[in-house]
């Protein structure tokens, strides 16, 4: 007799997460809470953009923010102090991404009954968060000018899962050889549906366009 027996499994390690995510999306729909998953590299301006965006939307929508970080709660505090809205910190316990289960645990702490929009600031990273469906209604990302216009070529998965790409730090364009048209072309290669909005989160320029897009997203999704 062979000392070893083989048991076939044939299962994607992402299968359970995909299931959890689909379930969460259905629940959010039932509650009328729109979940936006915002991703980017570290420091490309997620928190700064969120603060400006929330300032523009908080009279029209009931918003909460979930900040995912490996450690620390500086971003959650920053959002709360700058905007006055509910913001909670999720710790990923050393993990480089959030999955649907961690997202659900976070949502259980924000009291979904009285909300229209929850924004999840994912861990700063262009690789791992793209692999894990969080259950969000929509994925958006921020690419900042200093990172370079070739990022859609180097991180194809991230760009293919995001339907909205905000290009931030447009104020520093003169100091970098970032080509916006080229970047848009690379983004569309990865995702023909993707919309691109250039902004400067520091001054708020262009953030109104992003905020208007988000408001429209939430409204039309609620009516569906």
């Amino acid at each position: 007799m062979d000392p070893i027996k083989v048991i076939e499994i044939k299962k994607s390690v992402f299968a359970d997460n995909d299931q959890d995510a689909a379930l969460l999306r259905k629940e959010l729909k039932g509650k009328g809470v729109y979940l936006l998953n915002l991703m980017s590299s570290p420091g490309s301006g997620k928190t700064t953009t969120l603060i400006k965006t929330i300032g523009l939307l908080k009279d029209s929508l009931r918003i909460a923010v979930m900040e995912a970080d490996i450690d620390s709660d500086v971003d959650a505090v920053k959002i709360r102090e700058a905007t006055g809205i509910r913001s909670i910190q999720l710790h990923t316990g050393g993990m480089c991404h959030l999955d649907a289960e961690m997202t659900r645990q976070g949502l259980d702490n924000v009291d979904m009954e009285n909300l229209d929009l929850v924004i999840l600031e994912n861990v700063g990273n262009l690789v791992c968060p793209a692999e894990f469906d969080t259950g969000a209604v929509c994925n958006a990302m921020i690419l900042s000018v200093p990172e370079g216009d070739d990022k859609p070529l180097k991180y194809p998965l991230m760009f293919s899962v995001c339907d909205m790409v905000v290009i931030n730090k447009m104020d520093v364009l003169p100091y970098f050889d970032f080509d916006l048209d080229k970047c848009k072309k690379y983004i569309r290669l990865r995702n023909p549906k993707a919309q691109v909005i250039p902004v400067c989160a520091k001054t708020g320029e262009g953030v109104d366009v992003f905020a208007a897009w988000l408001l429209e997203q939430v409204k039309s999704w609620k009516q569906q």
Partner: protein, 116 residues
């Protein structure tokens, strides 16, 4: 870091499969890892050693990795080509209307257990 997260998923799934099959000891777990899955096999096996040895079921078990090739499909000339070599551009007709068919998978293929 990414690999550690994946190792936790593998452990969860293997524990479940072991439970369903009445298995109490696993000798090896065999994975199919796509060439463009962004998972680095060496990191994965390093993380495996660290995490698996904390579990009675998996202590000392080996993580075997099969790297599966990435293949893209061209929608214009209807042919397959190797993704890693040519990327997004079809080598036959230079079209960019191409998409990945295989090579993104992170899959548990099978487990090897003592036959008793």
């Amino acid at each position: 870091m990414h690999e550690l997260g994946i190792v936790f998923y593998i452990i969860r799934d293997v524990k479940q499969a072991a439970g369903e099959n009445g298995v109490t000891k696993v000798n090896a777990v065999v994975m199919n890892i796509g060439e463009v899955s962004t998972v680095v096999p060496e990191y994965l096996t390093d993380c495996w050693r660290w995490a698996a040895d904390k579990e009675d079921l998996l202590r000392g078990s080996e993580l075997k990795v099969n790297v599966t090739p990435a293949v893209s499909w061209c929608e214009d000339c209807h042919q397959e080509y190797p993704t890693v070599q040519y990327g997004k551009t079809c080598p036959f007709c230079a079209s960019e209307h191409t998409f990945l068919r295989r090579g993104n998978e992170v899959e548990i293929k099978e487990i090897e257990v003592p036959n008793d």
